[in-house]
Symmetry: D3
Subunit: 175 residues, 6 copies
């Protein structure tokens, strides 16, 4: 059976390679990714308390997310190293209409990572890795309070720049 021709990371023999981008145009590209962390009211309170300066969980997670973006090409095997020219990590609390009772009892923190490059390939993996690393750090900081905390979702929200076209996630999609 043939490898899927649309997965560019494989050659015709089905072997991985780092895709040749020497001939691609250099353009400004941006990607936005998000991660959601569902936690107990107790853990959420612990974070909000940190907003008042003492024990700032989100400040630690924000720096971990930025550092995570810079490690992407060493973590994701076939990623190219690209010049990361901007990263920001934002947190907000979101409402979720969950049918699941257990989930409904939780509070949800959203982490949004935005990254930009001027390069030959997209910056989606950097923004996803940033969001994911920030979320893991929130878990690490609060696991003594709520070990059952769940990173409920990591996904690309939008991307722009580059030949493959823009992407913007629709409403209700794969939530």
């Amino acid at each position: 059976m043939k490898p899927d021709p649309r997965s560019t990371h494989f050659n015709a023999a089905g072997e991985v390679h780092m895709v040749d981008v020497t001939g691609k145009d250099i353009t400004v590209r941006q990607a936005v990714a998000s991660a959601r962390i569902r936690m107990s009211a107790d853990a959420a309170e612990s974070i909000r308390r940190g907003d008042a300066k003492k024990g700032d969980v989100l400040a630690v997670a924000r720096l971990a997310g930025i550092a995570g973006a810079k490690w992407t090409s060493h973590l994701i095997p076939l990623c190219h190293a690209i010049p990361i020219e901007a990263v920001s990590i934002d947190f907000d609390w979101v409402e979720e209409s969950e049918s699941d009772d257990a989930a409904a009892a939780c509070q949800t923190l959203r982490c949004t990572a935005t990254a930009r490059t001027t390069g030959k390939t997209g910056i989606e993996m950097e923004s996803l890795t940033a969001a994911s690393t920030a979320a893991l750090t929130v878990y690490d900081m609060l696991k003594s309070v709520d070990r059952a905390m769940v990173i409920a979702q990591v996904r690309l929200e939008s991307k722009s720049g580059g030949k493959s076209g823009d992407f913007r996630r629709g409403t209700g999609e794969q939530a």
Copy 2:
């Protein structure tokens, strides 16, 4: 306001530090974490095709997960470096009873990371980072097929060893 006394990463002044574990006992510890990836039937087909040897997405993700475990102490700011003595990454396809129609149309791949150490602190973050890195790699390998793919859940399944006691996730909890 005081920092949450249960979050051991902060001192009394609310400042982060790497917790002193010099006095802790060395014991064998294990942690199991999982990540779920929801993808289109198309992307799932692409992975299953890889099972037949050509273009093996999961083989790449498995190695990325193992490498991710080894990077944990550099990715998670307050993590201690511990001797990682075993890591395995397993994949299976799971059924999900979703109320959400969009999600129901997806297929769900589960990645389970198991890590062991003989050390003074737990190995939860290593197993979570392994699962998370493997999931991000699946995304990277197939984003040209399904850019809307979602890492639907990253969570600790169980841990054992150490003074804080064992943890095993119950049924239906925070799914």
Copy 3:
């Protein structure tokens, strides 16, 4: 001419090697290092403003210092990797009685890094690297305010544990 026999990093031929510590005892060791940063009143005000939660320079530097400790064995060529079991980074403002007028106009922030291990070699380089990295980060965060800022001193304050004996810096020494 012979290499200095007291510098253990060289063999009899004057070539570097990583010293063999297989036969050494495992003991608890601690090292405290400090760095001083002399800055304009303007830059000092910028840091103090951060204490009030907005733009917290020291929180960033503290995390950089902890991460720096973990990178030590890759930065210092002949360092052994040892299990870093505790790191804390503290900041305070110190008075300096400077004869130099230019220096007298400055304010001095002191960064103190304390690190502990249970291992076969000392942890001096980890505490020094932590203090140094934290100080460099303070510079980076405020270089747009005061590019002339100086890291005025990085030094070992004390060490304990291990066969070479304890060290405690005396008063007035090499300040």
Copy 4:
């Protein structure tokens, strides 16, 4: 209270981000930084002996400095990775007119790091990290001879290129 508007690493909310440089011009930039190491006559003699080929401390420190420059973007949290196109590390012995008697008994080695890039941001942090890492390595190589050795000063000497203008340290300033 507002974050200091001149510290570009914070946004209006006082949260850190990696500054967006996508719109900045690519220019050749250079930065020179220095570190001074004050040591006992004994330690200084040990280095000079190395000049005669056996046990060459400065050769080790020079390579550590160059490697340190390459690690900068992973050590300094908000640093961009830039293409480092030249690094050189030079050592010389300097006279210091110290009022402090203890300091006067010391000999002072100066390490000067020069780095160049063709990029969108300055290369100050790379040259400072290079000088600092080289100085820490000198300490590591000779700590068995003189544990009280002090890195007496790490500072930017000059920078050129880029929109913020050139910088050249004056005489007698903040020594």
Copy 5:
């Protein structure tokens, strides 16, 4: 005695530096390197068995080679970090006409690494490091089968692009 003027990594004083490439042209460059691994018939059989999907040694080595290319600037002290825009790793079995009886009993696997960049310096070291890391990984995967396995040759096959001209290895040369 003077340092060899053709070795650009040394300055006139014989001290290492990272060569200044700020003034060099940006061109597309390619380098091909190979490594040969001589192993027992038993180990060779183990690899061929992996071709049938179970226990795929070469898939692991291929990914290690690609990752190795990305680490080059941190492994080779005076290497510049360049944008690696393509890497592929290919394996084939080669016949060797060995006079040495012991060698003749072996089977030889060849690993060929091809890397491309658009940059100011060549990409030879990246392709050599990729081939070398892939070969070391083959050894690691099969050392329990054949500990005596030998990496019989690592060499540059060709390079193109850049001012120093193209290189193509002749026949029979330095085999």
Copy 6:
């Protein structure tokens, strides 16, 4: 077909995992590896000239080899990180009785890397990676003199400690 049961890096399904060593004994282990570099008389002269202090190629390669040993667990995918407690890198010139005329015209530098650990797994890969990285660095330092230089052999010379028994390479074997 089944994976080779002797290759411990694969499980019964032929999937890679990091072997579980939690139950293994901690013992002192040593491994010696060598690499041979065949070069033109010109390049060899360039190295010997460095022995006289100016432009010391081998000093650079020695440090790269030690650093390479420390990076092993991140370069070789299934390697455990072990406490590296000693590394030394030695160089000597060797005579080779080559039937191949081209090879006969070359001079051969041998790099021998010795590494020790007190741990649960062997240190073969660390000594091989050290020898290999040192050899690649020799190539990098002299490629402007002799681009056709060949790393003619990388192999394990001996290992001791651990349950799998000692290994010592015989004479004439796989040269």
